[in-house]
Symmetry: C3
Subunit: 189 residues, 3 copies
């Protein structure tokens, strides 16, 4: 039985850098993880079922269809053998508010063992976002990022209640990437 570790963080927190650093270090120890992006996996399900040919089309599907797809994706991921990292959003900040990345019907199928929140100070996230001109994002301010990170902690607590997963916070602070990678290795080892 492998471990299922869900890794999340708000845009600009440097989640991917931390994951890649940790996976490289673990490979040297002979510990391997398959890394899965939840959105990509879900699109592949939609694509195989012939109900969406690109991701924009998938986002425009009826809410009921989207939820069914999320559930099928979670079921599919749960069947994968060995250790897996699921790269997804804790919540997505939409014009209508925060949307759960792991709603009840996903948690029930995915049954994560560990849920990781990669966090850092709001001003560091803000300056990382400002320096990344290539990505078009709604520009939250300091307060918006703080609220989003706080809301993520709260919803992560409800994930822990409902699924029994542990919730681990990993800080990815400026100049301390090595520390963040070491913390992540500790969790995944």
């Amino acid at each position: 039985m492998g471990k299922t570790v869900v890794i999340t963080g708000v845009p600009g927190v440097g989640k991917t850098t931390v994951i890649n650093g940790a996976l490289a270090a673990l490979e040297k120890e002979g510990v391997s993880y398959q890394s899965i992006n939840f959105g990509t996996f879900m699109f592949e399900v939609a694509s195989q079922e012939g109900i969406a040919s690109d991701r924009d089309e998938m986002r425009r599907l009826d809410q009921d269809v989207q939820r069914r797809l999320q559930r099928s994706a979670a079921q599919g991921i749960a069947q994968i053998e060995g250790n897996i990292i699921v790269d997804t959003h804790c919540t997505v900040s939409t014009p209508k508010g925060y949307l759960a990345g792991l709603p009840e019907w996903v948690l029930r199928e995915l049954k994560p063992d560990i849920f990781v929140l990669v966090e850092t100070d709001e001003d560091q996230i803000l300056s990382r976002r400002l320096s990344d001109a290539s990505r078009v994002r709604d520009m939250d301010g300091y307060m918006g990022i703080r609220d989003h990170q706080q809301f993520n902690r709260s919803i992560a607590a409800s994930y822990a209640m409902y699924s029994g997963c542990t919730v681990k916070i990993v800080r990815n602070a400026d100049f301390l990437l090595d520390k963040a990678v070491a913390d992540m290795v500790e969790i995944l080892r």
Copy 2:
């Protein structure tokens, strides 16, 4: 299929003013919402069933009966066609602690699309409550109001996990009612 939007806020936050302003603006755009007070609707159910003749009597019913009534009310509201606003409490602050406004058995039936928290700074809520001598309320201090608003955000996160609704925070700050109304219009449009 209409939208179901739940709107909440601690006493004194000015929720009703924001809702009314938004509904008036939307009417000019031809967008209409039916506004339902959850407590009133639930009392009507109790009244029709002949188990309570006034709201105090309803509050003294057995916990099991109250929960069944909550569930019936949620089922009844879910059957209403078109867009609806459900005016209710995120949590109620009681002598025994915070009580969920939308417990599991309500969420399951109501299936809200959007959950709105109307918030503002604690000192503004405090001065609005102090100036409203007509309403007899347990007088929370600054810290009590802060704790209540924070707890509301946390439980709203669990509502998002369990029902899939988005959670949107609308600030109703002093001198900025127009901004709050415009934000609410954006959510309801």
Copy 3:
């Protein structure tokens, strides 16, 4: 029908002192509670089933077995007549993150009426832990204790959503034990 009150607090908050003070005061009023430690009760279940002979052994059982034991313990406690206090953890801080003390399958069986968080300022907890050399604990710093208490509030909110219990915060501040005991008496009376 008795009341089921779950009482929690991070290590060093002085939970036991507050409970004992409240129970002594209530006894004088003729109000009695049976006090149950969740972990001890669960170990007795494991022991009776012959699957663990000490608590360390219980902790090393398969996750599925542990969850089944938690559920059986919750069922057993729920069958006890009269008022009961369940002494347990809101969350446990483990190397893999925060673990829910009352996950979904426990809440569903236990059906608590009131959930109490005993809290105090982080620096007071820190100095109480530092002065208690007899207990070997991972030494969290100020920020770790703050994060743990905040996470406990968040998950308590999800407990309220899922079970319908109220969530009450009792402050156990230095030099104000009498106040904490009086608050607890008010909740349990």
